[in-house]
């Protein structure tokens, strides 16, 4: 295993990728509309975004299956836009099962090595090592149709890694798998990626996947990059309303600016970042876990619980304020019994600087999601 790591270290790390103002138009669809993105050497960058936002298109341009209409794709500073796919040395794992059906697992993995003129013994040894790395040392001779979906994607990963790719490309490799296999393979991909240190671009529309695996997450919308940041930062300091609502769940509570912060319920909370002038109406962006609730104890409260949804460790309360404003709060599930539907609750917020947006700022299309 160490030999794999060493071999890949020679080629894998240090590769940078850059999309510079890349456009790709299909008929009337602007699949990529000026994409700017830099991938750092050795990092795992997740491209996250709703369906149709251009993630796959970006990955295909990088792999060389498609050419940009304008702008350029740079690998290690060199424009590869016109380099054919088979000269790019990128290992790709596809969303659909892509193993060669007439070849066994080991032959699939060895295919790229064979094309690179490696001797038979050498090929077999390295293919076996890689299959071992993905936990399939028992299945060397199996054919794709004899393997489960998860196993096939592991072989596909080994096949992509076998050629010591400059960049590893993953296009929703887990989307066809069931939840458990998915979580397992997700951890494994991350482990292997860290072990090999190969620059990786991972496309997904599953934010949980993106946040849990990536060094940085690039959120895309309508063919552009909205924000690219480390998962925690993206979650805590979304730069645009779209990111705020797409990543995790966000309350947008109306409040007014007063000296010292924003007034929310009875509190005045400090503002994070740019502070709007006092007196202006704003929306405060609050995660459900930053909203604190107490039973009103028979008194009329700030809101009424409408539904309680159990998520395991936490239960999410959906509440309605008298003015009709909805608000979400997470409480530890052990306290859930205190908040049945119809209960009156008092609301406060965590005393931590909050992000605010001017009231006038257009709201992003609400995307349901939970973090």
């Amino acid at each position: 295993m160490s030999s794999i790591a060493l071999e890949s270290l020679d080629t894998g790390t240090g590769t940078t990728v850059e999309f510079a103002d890349v456009h790709r138009v299909f008929g009337s669809t602007h699949a990529l509309d000026g994409l700017d993105l830099k991938v750092r050497p050795g990092e795992l960058l997740a491209l996250l975004g709703p369906s149709g936002c251009g993630k796959t298109t970006a990955l295909r341009l990088l792999a060389g299956f498609d050419q940009p209409d304008a702008g350029s794709v740079l690998v290690d500073g060199e424009d590869v836009s016109r380099l054919p796919a088979n000269k790019r040395d990128m290992g790709m794992v596809f969303q659909s099962y892509s193993l060669f059906p007439t070849m066994s697992a080991v032959d699939n993995v060895a295919f790229g090595l064979r094309l690179r003129g490696r001797g038979a013994g050498d090929r077999r040894k390295r293919a076996a090592e890689l299959l071992d790395l993905v936990g399939l040392s028992e299945h060397l001779k199996k054919f794709p149709h004899q393997m489960s979906g998860g196993q096939q994607q592991r072989v596909a990963l080994a096949r992509a890694l076998a050629i010591s790719p400059r960049v590893l490309l993953l296009d929703e490799p887990l989307s066809a798998l069931d939840a458990k296999v998915r979580a397992q393979l997700r951890d494994e991909i991350r482990r292997i990626q860290l072990e090999l240190g190969v620059t990786t671009v991972f496309v997904t529309h599953d934010q949980e996947e993106a946040l849990s695996m990536a060094d940085r997450v690039g959120v895309m919308r309508n063919g552009r990059l909205e924000q690219c940041a480390a998962p925690a930062e993206l979650y805590q300091r979304p730069e645009t309303p779209f990111v705020a609502e797409f990543v995790g769940t966000m309350n947008r509570l109306p409040g007014s600016m007063v000296p010292g912060g924003v007034r929310l319920f009875t509190q005045v909370v400090a503002v994070d970042g740019v502070v709007p002038p006092a007196g202006s109406d704003v929306r405060a962006l609050l995660r459900p876990e930053a909203v604190l609730v107490e039973p009103a104890g028979g008194q009329p409260g700030d809101a009424i619980v409408t539904t309680a949804t159990f998520f395991g460790a936490v239960t999410r309360l959906r509440m309605t304020q008298p003015d009709g404003q909805e608000i979400l709060a997470d409480v530890g599930s052990h306290r859930a019994a205190d908040f049945p539907a119809g209960a009156q609750v008092r609301i406060s917020v965590l005393d931590r600087p909050v992000l605010v947006r001017p009231e006038s700022e257009a709201t992003a299309g609400t995307v349901p999601g939970r973090a």
């Binding site: 792999a63 054919p84 796919a85 088979n86 290992g91 892509s98 080991v106 090929r123 596909a156």
Partner: protein, 298 residues
């Protein structure tokens, strides 16, 4: 045409059975009489004529009783080996040319120019709706008209070349057209059952060129359907009578009919023989196609 009978089972054989589990489990739950009856009726329908033909071919009309002289004479009959070799040549030639023509066409069509698919499909299925007689009449007209009108052009040379010489190219080319629907259908079914887009991209991604992708990835994945196409074409050519006889060639089918006019038993035994050959071919194809290579070629 006799030879075409078993191909009803062979066409798309491997491909169309994918939807099978539901049907077969339903069948399994209803065993016994119904199934037996259907089998019996089909059996009688298919086997009955064959048994009758066989019985006819071994009757000794002079002395009564049974004799196998028709079969003994088959191989020594005048013209048999010429006709057989001609049919073999026509079959192989047709299969090779139509595969060489259609495999790359179909791959390109699916990978690069899917919007032309309806056009190509319509063109390829034409021979199904145009009777061979009409087709061959057209060919006859062109062949008769060409040499005069095109005198001195390369086209005339071509038209002459395909009609002269030992290999009846004109017949082979005509058969390539006649078999287009079958070739198209088999290849199309095969290509649809495999995700050739992703396989191609996976191959390119690993560094393979287009040639390698085609030869090492796509063709092996399409083996069954290529074999099916080959088999269907071969069987069709082997049993084809109309076109060959109008163009005045004497391949196997024409020979059988001619022989039948003088010697009924010989003709029947020849027909049975031709059926046997087709069946053997079918067996061969399903053996080749069904076998999953377990050889590790690394």
């Amino acid at each position: 045409m006799v030879a075409l009978t078993p191909t009803a089972g062979a066409g798309g054989l491997a491909e169309t059975q994918t939807g099978g589990p539901a049907t077969s489990s339903r069948r399994r739950r209803r065993p016994g009489i119904g199934r037996g009856l259907v089998l019996l009726i089909c059996g009688i329908y298919f086997i009955g004529p064959l048994v009758g033909a066989f019985w006819f071919s071994i009757q000794d009309k002079v002395h009564g009783g049974v004799q196998f002289s028709a079969y003994a004479h088959v191989f020594s009959a005048v013209g048999f080996s010429d006709a057989f070799m001609l049919s073999l040549k026509l079959g192989i030639g047709t299969v090779l040319i139509s595969l060489l023509l259609m495999v790359p066409t179909m791959l390109l069509l699916h990978l690069r120019a899917p919007k032309f698919r309806p056009v190509v499909e319509t063109l390829c299925l034409m021979p199904l709706v145009i009777p061979p007689v009409v087709l061959v009449a057209g060919v006859g007209v062109v062949l008769a008209w060409g040499p005069n009108q095109l005198a001195g052009t390369p086209l005339q040379t071509f038209l002459n070349a395909i009609q002269s010489g030992k290999t009846p190219w004109v017949l082979i080319l005509e058969y390539v057209v006649l078999t287009l629907p079958f070739t198209y259908r088999s290849l199309d079914a095969g290509i649809r059952s495999v995700d050739i887009h992703t396989l191609t991209e996976a191959g390119l991604n690993l560094g393979a060129g287009w040639g390698t992708v085609t030869m090492r990835i796509l063709l092996p994945s399409l083996r069954t359907s290529v074999l099916n196409a080959a088999f269907l074409s071969f069987a069709l050519v082997f049993g084809e009578y109309t076109v060959a006889s109008i163009l005045q060639y004497q391949p196997f089918a024409v020979f059988i009919v001619a022989a039948g006019q003088t010697e009924g038993q010989l003709s029947t035994s020849l027909s049975l023989l031709s059926l046997l050959i087709t069946w053997l071919l079918l067996l061969l194809i399903s053996l080749l196609g069904g076998r999953n290579s377990t050889k590790v070629d690394i």
